[in-house]
């Protein structure tokens, strides 16, 4: 046994040294312009962990976009390859993942991540390495604007609207259409997105002389029983409930609220948008609920994407997938506009992007903030189907 353990230990050390040396020797050359080599794009995505659904949906959609483009001959006559790295929905891993993409895999751009905190962790790395990064769905303002200097981050872009806009749209709708004077707020404490969106709604609601009756919090990703917090809110008797969370919890919350006899309207943001919402809450519970979203289902451009996605993956896409698709195509257009895979040229092309038609709406990037000026739509749920209510253009 002693010999075995000695041999085993030596073997392990040998194996590790070999792999270390082997790794050292095979660092690929930086983005070569040889027309036969594929263009490598990195995906720093949440493929496991608490928000794995977002990353996986986006990864599928990005791959779909690349496949479609490759079928047309690729871009600049070269094929596109997606190199996906899993950040495990964790900020620390995000730094590792994006470092690997940028330095080992030598990607020319990064698409990612889906949630704001995880994206934030990757920003220093791509900024140091001067690689452009597009976040498909990170809505927190800090992603593109550095709060310390109030200047735009030159290498970071996004394909979606930002929380302040979303909250404003929702608050106006609540005051005008729902005619609510009081509201209660339920926040997913684990999410930057949820907190930011709640703040924006509350600020705008109060400006319109609305009153907040109370705020409750839950821990996203693990809580399943919300009856206690709902009982508290029920006692406050608000006119409506603002629920800016993700669909998994939203479905359960709405269902349990109706079971407690709460009939007031519930409203939320783009995190509600997933076909599973109806399975979780049940059609009846979702009547008299609304949410702000990026896309309206009656938009013809979306229909093609949905059927293409379903054909390839056997599942309907969610909002994150649609945004991932747009981010991928946005990058493709930028490479095309720049007529080069040089990172600086792609960056400039992205900064000056105007009138890009994505499934999520038209994207025009504001060079001062790197945020697209996108309109939002308001969807209501009726008898198990999303119904378009109104579109709100950006001011």
């Amino acid at each position: 046994m002693k010999l075995f353990s000695k041999g085993f230990s030596l073997g392990m050390i040998a194996l590790l040294s070999v792999s270390l040396v082997a790794g050292c020797g095979t660092t690929p050359k930086a983005g070569s312009s040889d027309s036969s080599t594929p263009i490598k794009v990195g995906g720093n995505l949440e493929l496991s962990g608490s928000t794995a659904m977002f990353g996986q949906g986006a990864k599928n959609a990005i791959q779909l976009a690349f496949d479609q483009q490759n079928a047309k001959g690729g871009v600049l006559n070269r094929q596109l390859t997606l190199v996906a790295a899993d950040n495990k929905s964790d900020a620390g891993e995000s730094t590792s993942a994006v470092t690997k993409l940028v330095s080992q895999d030598k990607v020319i751009a990064v698409i990612g991540s889906m949630t704001s905190s995880v994206t934030l962790a990757a920003i220093p790395v791509v900024t140091d390495s001067k690689i452009p990064m597009i976040s498909p769905s990170g809505t927190n303002t800090k992603l593109t604007m550095d709060p310390a200097t109030n200047a735009v981050r030159p290498w970071i872009f996004r394909a979606c609207f930002i929380d302040p806009f979303q909250g404003q749209v929702a608050a106006n709708f609540t005051l005008t259409n729902l005619k609510a004077k009081t509201a209660a707020v339920i926040i997913d404490q684990k999410s930057d997105y949820s907190k930011g969106l709640a703040e924006s709604f509350v600020a705008n609601f109060k400006k319109g002389t609305g009153t907040i009756t109370g705020t409750e919090q839950y821990v996203g990703g693990s809580d399943k029983d919300f009856r206690s917090i709902l009982t508290n809110i029920k006692a406050q008797n608000p006119d409506m409930v603002w629920l800016p969370g993700y669909y998994q919890e939203v479905g359960l919350i709405v269902k349990q609220a109706r079971e407690l006899g709460m009939t007031m309207p519930f409203m939320g943001g783009d995190g509600w948008d997933d076909p599973q919402l109806y399975n979780i809450a049940g059609d009846a519970a979702l009547n008299n609920t609304f949410y702000v979203d990026h896309v309206a289902t009656d938009d013809p451009a979306l229909a093609t994407f949905v059927s293409d996605y379903k054909a390839k993956y056997n599942n309907a896409p969610n909002a994150m997938a649609a945004l991932g698709y747009d981010a991928a195509n946005l990058l493709i257009k930028a490479i095309d506009d720049a007529k080069s895979t040089d990172s600086e040229k792609i960056r400039t092309a992205l900064e000056n992007m105007k009138g890009f038609k994505g499934v999520g709406g038209e994207i025009t990037i504001d060079p001062k903030t790197h945020n697209p000026q996108k309109s939002a739509v308001i969807i209501s749920n009726k008898d198990g189907k999303p119904v378009f209510v109104t579109r709100v253009a950006p001011q």
């Binding site: 392990m12 660092t27 608490s50 790295a85 899993d86 620390g92 590792s96 690997k100 905190s117 907190k195």
Partner: protein, 317 residues
């Protein structure tokens, strides 16, 4: 003082300096790929974590699986000092380690009566409570955490790692360390032989927590961002696996386990779903077939370099 300058120590020192210099040279010459540097610094952090946990679990035989809690405290305290209060790095690291050590004291004292499984669950609970406290504290950004500049370099990471290992190794070899080992072997016998078990158990927890806090500070100041969800039970468990893999009770084993696990994680980074399943299976297999780990309780020592009289006097572990 005089007998410090024997052949063994000089060779060890030379080895440490050489290792540092080689890597630093590669970094300065820009030959070292950034991902490798990241992995190497990660290894340093995990070495400190594994050896400090070994101090509690392996050397003193106290079953603690809440190590991530101490790391979290160290990370957050040092981050508050360096990022929010804009203090110097060394102050942040030290403060983080000290506060973590205090937490170790706080955990060690009341749990003295608990044994085995119960102690394990109590420490697990402690780790989770720490995480939830930070989750609910808006001052440190709550669930989203907060960002801070990255000030840790290879020099810092390696230097602190080497210092920590040397300090801990000295502790283990001293009379205090012997007392801890006696507690591990048979607590009641040790008590009746006059060893102050209370004092040493608490000492082990405090020291282990101190270094875990230091590792936490290094982590926070390198990875740009800290969030409560990083310091969960899975992290505690990973550190435990490193210690057990290397051999519970062996400091070198802890180092070895840390290196192997971190490298394996980096190598398997391309297949995340499989990586976790494989780790779990390997762990169970290892427990069934070789629960003492790779090195058991032996240490890698340079005893063969010592003089004959040294060899006889040197302790066989």
């Amino acid at each position: 003082m005089g007998n410090w300058f024997n052949r063994k120590n000089i060779v060890s020192l030379l080895g440490i300096v050489l290792l540092y210099a080689v890597v630093q040279g590669l970094i300065v010459q820009d030959i070292m790929p950034p991902f490798y540097k990241l992995t190497l610094i990660q290894i340093c952090i995990y070495i400190i974590l594994a050896t400090s946990l070994n101090l509690i679990n392996g050397i003193t035989g106290q079953f603690s699986i809440g190590h991530a809690g101490f790391m979290a405290i160290g990370a957050y305290v040092s981050a508050i000092i360096t990022a929010i209060q804009h203090g110097p790095l060394i102050l942040g690291l030290l403060a983080g380690a000290i506060v973590a050590a205090l937490a170790g004291l706080l955990v060690g004292l009341p749990t003295l009566r608990l044994k085995g499984d119960y102690l394990a669950i109590a420490t697990l609970g402690f780790g989770e409570i720490v995480r939830i406290i930070f989750l609910n504290t808006e001052y440190v950004g709550g669930a989203a955490g907060f960002t801070l500049p990255s000030k840790i370099t290879w020099t810092w990471a390696f230097g602190l790692m080497a210092l920590s290992v040397i300090l801990m190794k000295n502790f283990v070899g001293s009379t205090h360390g012997r007392a801890c080992i006696s507690i591990r072997e048979n607590e009641i016998a040790a008590e009746s032989m006059g060893v102050n078990t209370t004092k040493y158990k608490v000492m082990a927890f405090t020291m282990g927590a101190f270094f875990a806090g230091l590792a936490g500070g290094i982590y926070a100041n390198y990875f740009y961002i800290i969030q409560p969800m990083t310091f969960n039970f899975i992290l505690s468990f990973n550190i435990l696996v490193m210690v057990v893999l290397g051999g519970l009770g062996s400091m070198t084993g802890g180092i070895f386990g840390a290196i192997v696990m971190t490298l394996a994680s980096a190598l398997l980074a391309g297949v995340p779903e499989w990586r976790n399943v494989i780790t779990a299976v390997l762990l169970v297999l290892m427990m069934i077939f070789k629960p003492t780990g790779i090195m058991g309780t032996k240490e890698f020592s340079l005893n063969f370099l010592g003089k004959k009289s040294d060899k006889n006097a040197a302790s066989k572990n």
